[in-house]
Assembly symmetry: C2
Homo-oligomer: 243 residues x 2
Amino acid sequence: MAEQDSHRQHISGQFNQELETATAHMLEMGGLVEKQVLAALSALLELDSGDAQSVMSLDKAINAREVEIDDECFRILARRQPAAGDLRLVLAISKVLNDLERIGDESSRVARQAIALSEQAEEAPARPWIQKIAAIVIDMLRSALDAFARRDAQAALAVARGDEEIDAQMAGAMTALADAMREDPDYVEACITAMWALRSFERIGDHARNIAEYVIYMVEGVDVRHAELDAVLDLLPARSRPE
Amino acid sequence: MAEQDSHRQHISGQFNQELETATAHMLEMGGLVEKQVLAALSALLELDSGDAQSVMSLDKAINAREVEIDDECFRILARRQPAAGDLRLVLAISKVLNDLERIGDESSRVARQAIALSEQAEEAPARPWIQKIAAIVIDMLRSALDAFARRDAQAALAVARGDEEIDAQMAGAMTALADAMREDPDYVEACITAMWALRSFERIGDHARNIAEYVIYMVEGVDVRHAELDAVLDLLPARSRPE
């Protein structure tokens, strides 16, 4: 009996180890992706096509990591057949991987725009908006991954709120770019390029929000995708509600 | 012994039934999403803001379906603990749901552009490109879902090839729109709106490609995300290779 218990503890210790390793791998990939976003932003602001090339060439490594870690999740599901909270953790990792990979794609897109822009203009159009929107988005991504690491549903909820600020800034940026194009037809190409880059940062914000939602799902077992934030607050246990 | 076998067969029959039901629900949601894409296209070409409103209001129902069917997948994983091919099927359904939901979001975005455009112009700029790109994309989505229903990895591979045609058409559309904006500053707003709409159709094509990749993964157990198509062909068993 005692032997059986110790065997069970051994198995369950291995299982927890596997879950922790998969989580660590995903967060590590998150760190890589975060660096990609920062590097893409810097390439865009400095119009540095060398930096942009590095971002694009690193994307393959990130894609490979997604497939590897997702395979790790598959093997845990197949061999360990986790239930309840453990199952939610594995599924959350798998879903977050997908968003991270797409953030990597968007970073490559920004890098491609940086290269185009370096041939079209002396300076990125709408530069102050790019800086502001990218700063919000990078903060959302960092906070969402941090909330995952700490299993913090309340912090994850706060990330989901970053969206509105992005919408406001994007509207301002689009008006400024349209005005600039109307005033100077020679500036049309560069402004279009800046628009695509801004749109990519906006998408990165969407993905950060998705990651935050998976954290809430993992911690609370409440699926908050597509829910209004106030309704989500009512669903959460009191301990997760913001003061 | 015979009784146990019959019990097992009964359980396994129920299990297969659950897998088929989840697949059917996902494909049904795929049908709804396909209709949304068509309706959004029609709203954009006809500049019909009434139709556009219907697309946007149906999006909530699609989001709710995603959460319901994903929950169905979660319950199958938790209770049935499927292995190998069955596990791949459930995970593929869950991942496809995510892409379908995002196609729904892109359709809503196109609908929003249709409303904006109805106030900015008499006719959608770059209309022939919109029609052509949307037609390719809708065909890709339909074929990807069809390949899922028939577990047809070869058909899924063909879908992944639609991408290159979209890239070529998008490049043409962007040049035409930039020229139009340079020629007539009053046309800038409408051209920007058309660009966002085209970009949404392009994204729908990306999601259709993702769905096709999950079909190959499900059928063959080969993860083809991010792989070059020719390398994929080498990975597949001979029966799945195109002639």
